[in-house]
Symmetry: C2
Subunit: 333 residues, 2 copies
DNA sequence: CTGTTAGCGCATTCAG
DNA sequence: CTGAATGCGCTAACAG
């Protein structure tokens, strides 16, 4: 037979499934003798509890839905690691879904996740829309946003202070004497991209450097696009001495284009990235960047989420954790 | 109320759950009128099917368990992307688990995955042991091994030809005139590491270069360890002109150590990696490496697995797919 | 200490 | 075309 059930054990042991259940779950009210016998039989039969049945009964699936933009991006991969570790430590599994930054996919996977009755949701929202997130809220399914957040919706969230991060990076370049700083931005519907841009602008303002619209470009999250764009910009003979990028990932594409133009980093052009992915430090010209606590973001987010899932009291106000970013000075700027 | 059920709809519609079920699942034997009405009511109520209940009933969970060594490693991250994409296309979800290359964790997560009644398992085995894999086989749970395989167990598998890959890398270096080639190996219990070493040895033999035991080192999968090791080796004044590494990931650590010693790549020492991770091509000295079809490995593996899950006939013999690797020549060697 | 009853939500018989 | 009965595997309430 394919899967042993309580019934099977019950038959062999000559008792009912109730007793089996009690014995197997260490509940009281089972004589030590029968308990021993049951445990032995269960083991012999190779019994494996059916968590689907348990979940249906208990209304708890012990699994959380994780919705990320793209696991193959090292930033999200690191976040995912933090999530998996934390979840595993607290005996939860994770169902992982990719959105590829498409709202339709986000909607779709959230639907499935709800149908699979995950106990909670951990999401990096696409942010082109947010009706689907509202639906989750209305259903009162525990939810936390990671690395991105909405101004308009109150939810749990774990983010890094991206305005500060953008400010720190820009300020550093300014103090190094740069006045014409190119910012390769991420898509502005993403809160982190928007806020890093705010930080960039704030730094310019604070140091009385006029903002030039032409120096803000990009609006992409893809390395390949950043590379192509950078090639184009270099042909344009745009006037700048430093570049700040939305992410290290983008910085890699940008630096490749720069290298192909035989320009020297940081002498001809300084580069500051964002995220501090593992590779940033092992590049031949180690990348100056803003450290994002990726693993911690995933870990803390998961813990807050599970806390909410397991909390008896319903009306806790949203937990909002903001982690301070830190400028990591290396060689690229 | 927290979750709408067929009952709730049934009450409103004045029919039984049987009819509701039929209507919602597009089964025959429901009058168009009542079907319309039911659909409308369901929508109004915000009905979301309970897949836990469905799964319990149908004995199918539409989810597959994915066990990887470490998602934060870009190699596995790329594999995971292929898996997720393929699974999503065929309407499966994935429960993702990390083993961190520890057999005990592998055992543990496989147990949970079986309890959650995944329809199949996609595993990168730790290979320090394999009893747990055997248990899965005995239970006749559809299973596929990805990127690694056992000689002693017959299972579905998708791998790249690692012996060939190791051979190609080594042969290339030999043809470039190198005779003292250092190999920084992965842990030898991992089949891919063992086979790449075989390829290395085979190339040496074919070109009549004596194998020197001292030139095979490492046995690690961690970048940090490769870095530390390389620093030590450089102090030792070991005699070599080229390095072949088990993975690009290791190569990064190795190259960092080399750079710190002010040695030039590829002039002072040539470096060939393995995997062709996305970063390999954007390094200042783009890495010569062996291309592993990571995404494809994940995708094809998933498709084979789901084929088996959905196949009526039980006794199909194990599918074994071996993808040919390819040498990618760039600048580091 | 153990059993009986009942139900989590759903879909498949089998009747009508 | 629709309903009643049954069970997927498990556990909690209630009896004894």
């Amino acid at each position: 037979m394919s899967h042993i059930t309580l019934q099977d054990i019950a038959k062999k042991a000559g008792v009912t499934t109730t007793t089996i259940s009690r014995a197997l779950n260490n509940k009281p009210d089972v004589s030590p003798k029968t308990k021993d016998r049951i445990l032995r039989i269960a083991k012999n039969l190779g019994y494996t509890p059916n968590l689907l049945a348990k979940s249906l009964r208990s209304q708890k699936s012990k699994t959380i839905g994780v919705v990320l933009a793209d696991i193959s991006n090292p930033f999200f991969a690191a976040v995912a690691k933090g999530i998996e570790d934390a979840a595993h430590k607290r005996s939860y599994s994770i169902i992982l879904c990719n959105t590829d930054e498409e709202y339709e996919k986000e909607e779709e996977v959230l639907q499935v996740l709800v149908e699979k009755r995950v106990d909670g949701l951990l999401i990096t929202p696409v942010q082109k829309e947010y009706k689907d997130i509202l639906r989750i809220k209305e259903r009162r399914i525990p939810l936390i946003l990671v690395a991105r957040h909405f101004d308009t919706i109150e939810t749990n969230s774990v983010v890094s202070d991206d305005v500060l991060g953008g400010f720190l990076a820009t300020e550093y370049l300014i103090k190094k004497g740069h006045k014409r700083i190119l910012y390769i931005s991420g898509p502005l519907h993403i809160s982190s991209a928007l806020e890093r841009l705010k930080g960039y602008k704030r730094a310019l303002k604070e140091y009385k450097i006029p903002l030039k619209e032409k120096l803000v470009r990009g609006y992409t999250a893809k390395m390949g696009k950043a590379y192509t764009l950078m090639r184009r910009i270099l042909k344009e003979k745009l006037d700048f001495t430093a570049i700040f990028t939305f992410s290290d990932f983008l910085a890699l594409g940008v630096m490749k284009a720069i290298r192909e133009e035989k320009l020297k980093i940081p002498d001809d052009v300084a580069v500051v990235g964002y995220d501090d992915i593992e590779f940033a430090s092992v590049l031949e010209i180690p990348l100056t960047t803003v450290h994002m606590p990726k693993y911690r973001l995933g870990m803390e987010g998961t813990n807050i989420l599970i806390d909410e899932i397991e909390k008896k009291s319903t009306n806790r106000k949203p937990q909002k954790l903001t982690i301070k970013p830190e400028l990591i000075v290396r060689k690229s700027a």
